[in-house]
């Protein structure tokens, strides 16, 4: 049976797609998490800066018609509270510099708000700057007081680096978790397929019942096709069994009639050369009948081994039965059969096939050993195998040909004059191999043929 060629795997494809989507989401999560967190740190820094600027603004008063600014200590010290930062500030009234750092950058416009933020460079440092402003009415009319507060970004850069590290771990963690889940999902999804495979492969050779166990809806078409295929198969199997029986019947019955007719004729014919011709005819008919029988035997064996059953069978019973069945033939040929059974081993297989194999070996032995010979059949066993040995006192196998004897239609060089098709040992070999065993042909010390059949134990 050939293995179907496979292309891709559903599980792998599913896993790949899930992992792909997990990694996309992981990266997305990393980016989103990081940008949100960065925005939040930026906002919290902006809030501190704005609070600082507004606290200065809140401490400004109009006194004697002039704007009077009293810098609160906390305005600058709060900027340094979390991490050491350099801080800068500028106080401007109507665009005129009052105190602080005169060249500190200022936002271009406030866009309608009273606070504005900007990032800039100052004294070679990256800074974040907040400006807040408020109008006061003084002696010279209304005046805008603008406070700018800036700080370096040491702490923010540190927390952003920390956030980056955390985001990386969030992304990786998400991916790892998803990968684990993907693995689980892929396995769960594929499980009904595995179950179906197992239930089909567990079946016996003749079990062609439709699959009835519930399957997921996606697999229903597959299973119903499978069921239809099995129904067709069962049908065709039944047909070929019928055909074999029919063929055996149709070939054997006419041959038997012809033989009977030939024998009747032989009794009536007087002339010596005619008698010889008819005997020759009977012999040919015997050969054809036997050949047909063995061909059908072989067809039967081939068919049965293709769907070998694994029933538990007692080898001893099979051996005994076969020997007993052939005993009349032995007596007819003056052949003594000695049976010794020293094992009650059981094997798994098809009893009919094993019987057919044994029958072929014994039949060969009776045929080739000749009159007044002895055939010994022994059944022995060890831990792993059951061995059947059939030896005779005939001429044995021709030296160097034991391997070739098993070939289909091969006959020993010393088999002239004996009716045979050359299929007997082929049948034996096929049966034994189908049962996982082996056949060995040897000659006994006294020169007789010896066949060892060994079967693995059940």
């Amino acid at each position: 049976m050939s293995t179907p060629s496979s292309r891709g795997s559903i599980r792998q494809r599913l896993l790949l797609l899930l992992l792909l989507s997990a990694s996309v989401i992981g990266v997305l999560l990393f980016v989103v998490f990081q940008s949100v967190a960065r925005q939040m740190t930026q906002e919290s820094q902006d809030n501190i800066l704005a609070a600082s600027a507004i606290s200065i603004l809140d401490n400004a008063r109009v006194r004697r018609g002039e704007v009077f600014v009293d810098l609160p200590y906390s305005a600058l010290s709060m900027l340094d509270s979390v991490s050491d930062e350099r801080a800068f500030y500028a106080v401007r009234l109507n665009n005129e510099f009052l105190s602080g750092y005169e060249d500190l950058p200022r936002p271009a416009n406030f866009a309608g708000n009273n606070t504005a933020f900007m990032s800039a460079q100052y004294l070679g440092q990256d800074i974040r700057l907040a400006s807040a402003r408020r109008s006061f009415s003084t002696d010279e009319g209304s005046a805008f007081l603008e406070i700018s507060v800036a700080q370096t970004l040491t702490g923010m850069k540190q927390s952003q680096a920390r956030i980056s590290r955390i985001s990386v771990w969030v992304g990786i963690g998400f991916f790892a978790l998803s990968a684990l889940l993907a693995l689980l999902v892929a396995r769960t999804t594929i499980r009904p397929l595995d179950r179906l495979t197992l239930s089909v492969s567990r079946r016996g050779p003749s079990d062609l019942r439709p699959v009835t166990a519930p399957v997921p809806s996606e697999m229903v078409p597959l299973v119903s096709s499978l069921n239809r295929l099995m129904a067709r198969l069962q049908n065709s199997l039944a047909q070929s069994e019928d055909f074999i029986a029919e063929a055996a019947h149709r070939v054997r019955t006419p041959l038997a009639i012809v033989r009977t007719q030939a024998e009747t004729t032989l009794r009536r014919v007087e002339k010596a050369e005619n008698r010889a011709a008819i005997r020759e005819m009977i012999r040919a008919i015997d050969e054809s009948s036997r050949a047909a029988g063995q061909l059908l035997d072989h067809a039967m064996v081939s068919f049965r081994t293709d769907s070998l059953s694994d029933d538990l069978m007692s080898l001893a019973a099979t051996v005994t039965e076969t020997v007993e069945r052939l005993r009349p033939l032995c007596e007819l040929n003056d052949v003594e059969v000695r049976l010794s059974i020293s094992s009650q081993a059981c094997i798994r297989g098809d009893a009919i096939l094993v019987q057919s194999a044994l029958h072929n070996v014994l039949d060969n032995a009776i045929k080739y050993a000749g009159r007044e010979s002895t055939i010994e059949v022994t059944l022995s066993g060890n831990q792993t195998t059951a061995n059947v040995t059939i030896s005779d006192t005939g001429p044995g196998f021709p030296a160097g040909q034991t391997g070739a004897m098993i070939e289909r239609f091969a006959r020993g060089t010393n088999a002239q004059g004996i009716v045979g098709s050359g299929l007997g040992l082929t049948i034996v070999d096929e049966v034994v191999r189908a049962h996982g065993g082996s056949v060995e042909l040897t000659n006994t010390e006294s020169g007789g043929g010896c066949v060892h059949l060994s079967f693995p134990l059940a």
């Binding site: 200590y73 050491d84 801080a87 040491t154």
Partner: protein, 338 residues
């Protein structure tokens, strides 16, 4: 390199070209030293001499060029003229922070600096190596028999109860002239409202104003003053007339000034400066065994009463022109009650 340093030092020390005012100058170490560490400091030579000697003992190839200047002159040398000093040592914490904040200091990071307590380092730029509390210095003769005031409240009460002892005999810094005095006053005012009440009480007693710590301590020792308020006790402890007065660290709170070091951005020997800085910190922390830190007074009050002036941009607030003008105006209102 040496020629350059030599010529630079000649330029700086040569009187006509000199932009800032030098109070004192001394060179330590071998004349042919390979490396010269140029220190500008507000502390007297005698103050730093022992530590320089012990440093040079371990580093024979180094010479130390030590220049003494007032804190404002130090500021001028480094902030305005950007002169290539390697180490600036000053008791004016606000000016040191200003120098560092405005980019005139170099970062320094070493095993030593990483183990400093938080209050002793700012931004890897400014490093504190002494803790010098301000306290009352009270003449033993003048207030014999009176209970010794332990807090500002008690001081106010004592002054009010015995105006005859204290009239014209209270001394404190003139915050317009003394940087340290201004720093103590602002921190005092920030910590408690009692400061302004006390200042008004002192103003009513016709308080004497001083520019410098040592003069004030001498006047207490001589009996000219009954009490000096907000005096750097580290100086008082070293006075030869130590037995003439009592040093009190107020137990409500004591402002502690930190003497700090920084490596100016213009330094030409930043590694050497960093090494010397680490050496000084080694002497100071963790046990405070620095010869500059022999303040027995620190043990008088418990840790919670010590208000160390916090290094950080908060110090810039009182340097603000408007803020300073307002503060001094208010102070003048309180102390000069003409």
């Amino acid at each position: 390199m040496r020629a350059l340093i030599l010529s630079l030092s000649l330029i700086i020390l040569g009187a006509p070209c000199q932009g800032f005012e030098v109070e004192d100058h001394k060179r330590f170490g071998a004349a042919d030293a390979v490396r010269v560490l140029r220190v500008i400091s507000t502390a007297d030579i005698s103050f730093f001499e022992p530590i320089i000697h012990s440093y040079l003992a371990g580093n024979p190839d180094v010479a130390v060029d030590y220049t003494v200047a007032s804190s404002s002159e130090l500021m001028r040398a480094l902030y305005d003229e950007k002169l290539p000093f390697d180490l600036a040592i000053s008791s004016a914490m606000d000016l040191q922070i200003k120098l560092a904040n405005d980019g005139n200091a170099r970062r320094h990071r070493s095993n030593r600096t990483q183990n400093l307590p938080d209050w002793a380092v700012w931004n890897d730029l400014v490093f504190a190596f002494t803790q010098e509390p301000a306290g009352f210095v009270i003449s033993n003769a003048a207030i014999a028999g009176l209970p010794v005031p332990q807090t500002r409240q008690e001081l106010i009460r004592t002054i009010r109860q015995s105006p005859e002892i204290f009239q014209g005999k209270i001394g404190t810094y003139d915050v317009r002239l003394s940087g340290a005095g201004y720093l103590f006053a602002t921190q005092d005012a920030r910590a408690s409202d009692t400061y302004w009440r006390l200042t008004e009480v002192m103003g009513a007693m016709d308080t004497q104003l001083y520019c410098c710590t040592s003069q004030m301590i001498e006047d207490v020792a001589s009996g000219e003053l009954a009490i000096a308020y907000n005096v750097l006790t580290s100086y008082a402890e070293q006075s030869p007339h130590r037995d003439k007065f009592t040093i009190i660290l107020p137990s409500d709170f004591s402002i502690v000034m930190l003497r700090t070091m920084l490596i100016p951005a213009a330094s030409q020997n930043p590694e050497l400066a960093g090494d010397f800085l680490d050496f000084v910190l080694e002497q100071t922390f963790p046990k405070g065994t620095s010869p500059l830190l022999q303040s027995s007074a620190l043990g008088q009050v418990d840790e919670h009463a010590l208000h160390r002036i916090q290094l950080g941009p908060g110090l810039l607030v009182f340097l603000d022109q408007l803020k300073k003008r307002n503060f001094i105006a208010e102070w003048e209102n309180a102390i000069l009650q003409d």
